[in-house]
Symmetry: C2
Subunit: 447 residues, 2 copies
């Protein structure tokens, strides 16, 4: 189609379309599609899209509109056809948190149980880490590759862990970058379209969504997290996909590590039946649902049994070894996760200033400590240091004595640790009484 | 100041400033000023300003914020210093209507009464005409010129009728063009800042505002017109100026003409004590207030007397002759307005299809008819034809017989008239009963 043709499909001007959204009227699916196509073709300017995004922030969208926007964004690029791959293809998406390395253990477990996992992940930004950055801590591991390779690996091994290519949902890439600099990120229909357009372009049949709630998450309160979960489940169904969403707590970091290599190593521990309890719990919760949606288990109990067997039998480890080998890494690191931890760093303990119970660990604060010591980035063009990070030595509910370590900072230079020491200590709340345990899962949303 | 320094004056990022407005928080005056300066310096992008404008559309601004925005926009360019010109300088602004040629008779009348009028006007766009286009129907009349000439003419003659130069409020020019294509025009704080920033940059001491209300006006209902008027009066006072606003009706066109040369000729008729009643009434209303604010009259009755004398004595005609001569035109056209009507056009009558009373004349529809026959423009880079237009032969309340003329179209080619004939006829509502007269002035707002 010629470059200047999308706007001619609209029966009104772009300012009129923006005004329609501004005035709270629904926009026709066809018109949204023309608008999105025109945006990618640069017939609609960034300033017009920014005004539209802000109007959407205030007026929202009806489910059918959000679905239309999602499908238009999906169709702005290549939609991978996985119909040639046997089985019900199921992916997982997390809205991102601190210490969230679940994808790295979840994908091989689910694939080992016979459900194909076509997973396209992202990079870290701000206080939240990214699966691609963590995987790249495996020497030689490649997250880029053609759609052909992605599909071939999925067929052969049952799992591909790739990064988003320029071909997938370019409208989302362009719109997301714009929203980031125009204060229009926090809009449920726009978040829905952003997440789902990419996932639908992967060619999935079903999706399990982990919406993190709390201080360390994108969604700070349960109500807005629920609204987002419901929106994605609803729009996913309108697009003909099975979608389940969980709301899970993200006040303290997930697991005991924040950083790239150490998080991947910790995820590998889970494949061996080890690793921290909260990480195992979160991984199992999502794996069970993926197996149910993938049709290999009917009940949660059946699914749990499959997960446990995949770990106990070594099938999960073997699956990850196949994935690492296929994507250019040395599969030996899966059997021996400590191999991922390279030297060249200093380890600096973070000590408790008084005795007490750890009540709370501020995931947001530690996420930013991670950024400051080089484990994360604040701009998408920055690189990350795979080898630095934070190891938690105490978790909520643990008792610590004055002078005992709360955490360990892994840094390139000791002065980096000194610069973040106060923030790190202050991220831990110590109290005289043992805090109540709070459940990881807050809600399950299936419709 | 170096080009990249404005953003460094902000204690937060631009997206955070946008989010502040989005979340309904007030923005500090200093921050708004840095933001506006950064926008003019292209440190803030158009897409960020578009998001800010849309957030402002929804959240509004407090009076102090609107004042700060107005002053920042005023100070984005040259602020003319008229302190060397004697007297209280008073200008008038109209929000624009169809057939609104008031400035052209108002300015010389007020100046003839001894109040200096430094008037900077705009061009027509869409269904509303512009004073500059009308003035340029006078052969040789120049609306451009340096600030020095503007001030010198004001000192000497008491009135300058110029166009906006690039030096005046560049932030407004840039922002207005952006709002026009992002559906963010209809925001009271943004309209306030746009109007007042330019007027304050003229160096005025006082302003009379004519807010048109009705179908042919920018403000369709009295409530939003009142809100705009109150906002401008309030912000004008915060800026230390005397401001009075009138809400006046704009359902039917003002006067009997729509077009450039014919409107200027009609405005000149008023200087001779002739011309249509509604135009005389509107001009007198605004003139009285300008004379009061300008300190040459204490009461409306005194002011009215001065206006009548200026017309009866020929002083108003003489003042306009001085202005036309000073700005490059032939002053003889003021004494004989029919000289403005050149040949080369066709006159096509618009006939009543039935007998009855003219109940209503749709100013908006006739405004667009004017655009279609060449008297107006839809894009700011188009030129207008000075010699075409519409002459009303019947006004609301008049009785017409079937086959009698309702109006006359002055066109370049007869086919132009044919193309708009139906629209023109349909703009007139004919009814069996004589409609009630409605007053021109709806409200006066002084605070």
């Amino acid at each position: 189609m010629a470059k200047t043709s999308y706007l001619s499909e609209l029966p009104f001007t772009v300012p009129q379309l923006i005004a329609q959204k501004r005035d709270g009227l629904a926009i026709d699916a066809d018109h949204l599609r023309s608008f999105v196509n025109a945006y990618v073709a640069e017939e609609v300017t960034d300033y017009q899209m920014a005004a539209f995004a802000m109007a959407t922030y205030f007026q929202g969208m009806r489910p059918a509109e959000t679905a239309a926007l999602t499908l238009a964004m999906r169709d702005s690029g290549r939609v991978i056809d996985l119909s040639g791959v046997e089985g019900i293809k199921v992916d997982k998406h997390s809205t991102g948190g601190v210490g969230d390395k679940v994808s790295i253990c979840l994908a091989p477990i689910v694939a080992a149980c016979g459900v194909p996992v076509p997973m396209i992940s992202g990079r870290g930004l701000g206080h939240t880490g990214g699966t691609l950055d963590k995987l790249e801590a495996i020497e030689g591991f490649r997250v880029d590759g053609s759609v052909k390779r992605f599909r071939k690996q999925l067929s052969k091994i049952g799992c591909s862990l790739f990064g988003q290519t320029g071909e997938i949902a370019p409208a989302d890439r362009k719109l997301y970058a714009l929203r980031d600099v125009t204060a229009t990120v926090e809009s449920i229909p726009l978040i829905t379209a952003s997440i789902l357009s990419k996932k639908l372009a992967e060619g999935i049949d079903a999706l399990v969504l982990d919406v993190k709630v709390g201080r360390g998450a994108f969604m700070k309160d349960q109500e807005s997290a629920r609204a987002l979960a419901k929106s994605i489940v609803r729009v996913g169904k309108l697009a003909g996909k099975k979608v389940t969403a969980f709301l899970t707590r993200m006040d303290a970091p997930l697991g005991n590590t924040i950083g790239n290599a150490i998080e991947t190593a910790e995820a590998f521990d889970v494949l061996h039946g080890e690793g921290p309890e909260d990480l195992i719990e979160c991984t199992t919760l999502l794996a069970e649902e993926m197996l149910r949606l993938g049709g290999v288990a009917k009940t949660a109990a059946q699914a749990r049994k499959l997960v446990q067997e995949a770990i106990a039998s070594g099938a999960a480890v073997e699956k990850m070894q196949q994935i690492v080998a296929a994507q250019g890494g040395d599969p030996k690191v899966v059997a021996k996760p400590s191999k991922l931890i390279r030297g060249g760093t200093k380890r600096v303990p973070v000590l408790a200033a008084k005795s007490g119970f750890v009540g709370d660990i501020d995931a947001l604060a530690l996420g930013y400590v991670g950024v400051k010591i080089g484990a994360g980035r604040t701009r998408s063009d920055q690189s990350v240091d795979p080898d630095v990070g934070i190891v938690l030595k105490a978790k909520p509910g643990d008792a610590v004595e004055e002078g005992q370590p709360l955490a360990e900072l892994i840094v390139r230079k000791k002065k980096h640790a000194a610069a973040v020491m106060d923030e790190t200590v202050n991220a831990f709340t110590l109290s005289a009484r043992k805090p109540k345990e709070s459940p990881l899962r807050l809600e399950t949303i299936r419709r």
